[in-house]
């Protein structure tokens, strides 16, 4: 569910950047008229980031209470993704990051999370635990 929220934030981020670019350059293509308003898009991105982050935190914390030993690489990757999204939200909260940067970081963050997930799965398949 957390990854779902991050994925939606990523899609909203793409829509935000496309629309922002067209508004800045005064070149409005057909797609522009099919996108939600810029202000509403950013509100949606912020909400999705918070929901995704909360769900991800719950997922990580509950992972520690399963009783099974967790592979170190998986724990490190999960914490890295958590820290990445925490940094984006903190930057947003303290107004260090402009909406355009937040939208770009949503795309970057989700791409990084997917890459890590793929990397862990790949490593686990190559070197299965005894």
């Amino acid at each position: 569910m957390a990854y779902g929220a991050f994925a939606l934030a990523c899609i909203a981020g793409v829509m935000y950047l496309v629309q922002e670019r067209q508004l800045k350059t005064h070149q409005l293509h057909s797609i522009f008229y099919h996108l939600p308003p810029l202000f509403d898009l950013f509100a949606a991105i912020t909400r999705l980031l918070w929901w995704g982050f909360l769900l991800y935190t719950v997922g990580i914390v509950s992972g520690f209470f399963t009783g099974h030993p967790l592979p170190r690489v998986q724990v490190v990757a999960a914490i890295a993704v958590w820290l990445l999204y925490a940094a984006i939200l903190q930057g947003r909260h303290l107004r260090w990051l402009a909406p355009k940067r937040v939208a770009a970081l949503c795309i970057l963050g989700f791409s990084a999370a997917l890459t890590l997930l793929w990397g862990i799965t790949f490593t686990a398949q190559m070197h299965p635990l005894p």
């Binding site: 800045k24 070149q27 409005l28 522009f32 008229y33 202000f39 402009a98 909406p99």
Partner: protein, 356 residues
Amino acid sequence: MNLFCVGLSHHTANVATREQFAGSATAESIVRDAGCAEALLLTTCNRVEVYAVSNRRISTDEIARCLIRKIDTDPHDYAPPFYRYEAEKCVQHLFRVASAVDSMVVGESEILGQAKRAYESAKTSSAVGPYLHRLFQRAFRVAKQVRTHTEIARGAVSVGSVAVDLAQRIFGKLSDCKVLVLGAGETSERTARALISRGVSDLRVSNRSMDRACQLAQTVGGQAVPFDDWPAQCREIDILITSTASETPLLTPGKLAPMLRERLDRPLFIIDIAVPRDVDPSVNEMQGVYLYDIDSLQSVAEQSLAMRRQQVAAAEAIIAEHVADFVDLVSRGLHPAARSSEHSSTGQNSLRASEL
């Protein structure tokens, strides 16, 4: 029964010619004077057209004589560029007119309302019978289908409406937006009125002459702000409309930067319709600021118009489908009205197909 259309439009006649034939006749007078079975008069700023059904052939001159305002002017002498469409061509022409494919501004929304009013007026005076009733009902349905299934009405095509449209694209609901009008010119007043009509309730007006600012504020239901205070307003407002006669830019990145920091990331939409421009063009490069001057608004309007023209082929395809269906009904000797309830229309079929 002969169905025909006689008229003139912006394609064939200038306004001086059109005004000679507009305003004096009614559908009722055309039925009476020309001897038609049914008639409907469509008069807009760009066209004067008579749609009629008759048992005998009525010449274009006879219709022109019914329309002309000056009794002593002979339409032969005047030689106005009337066009005439009969039967299938008439059906096609009406569907194109109602769908705004034939309009000066392709895809405009006025024509459908004007056609409906013309129909209602003719219906009230009993000038419309079952044939024109069915034809116009179909035309209204075609127009709606064209607007729904193509992008012919997409985007704004005038400077004022582009500004309002862009504001809605940025902020969504305009009811929470704060607007500052800087310079009480005619264009800024029109833009401010357009914004108010879309829900803006917080409007401030600032002008070098405080009297003029108060006057405009009172007219549009806003609040006047002293001219010296307008830069401070940039901390709060969402939309700035400038149209002062200043020779040098009033707003530069240097002036705006400290105010942007206090805006909590709300976008700032600036509409600069002044010539020379009131806002330094480099302001557009600042984060969260969208600056549109008169040329860029015009350019967006032209892009929208080009986009609408690209949709004409799709609209023509829908129209052709309906024309064929309508003509088929008539040629099979069935009264169009009789089949309306049992025959699922082309429009409904297309809609069903697109939904599936």
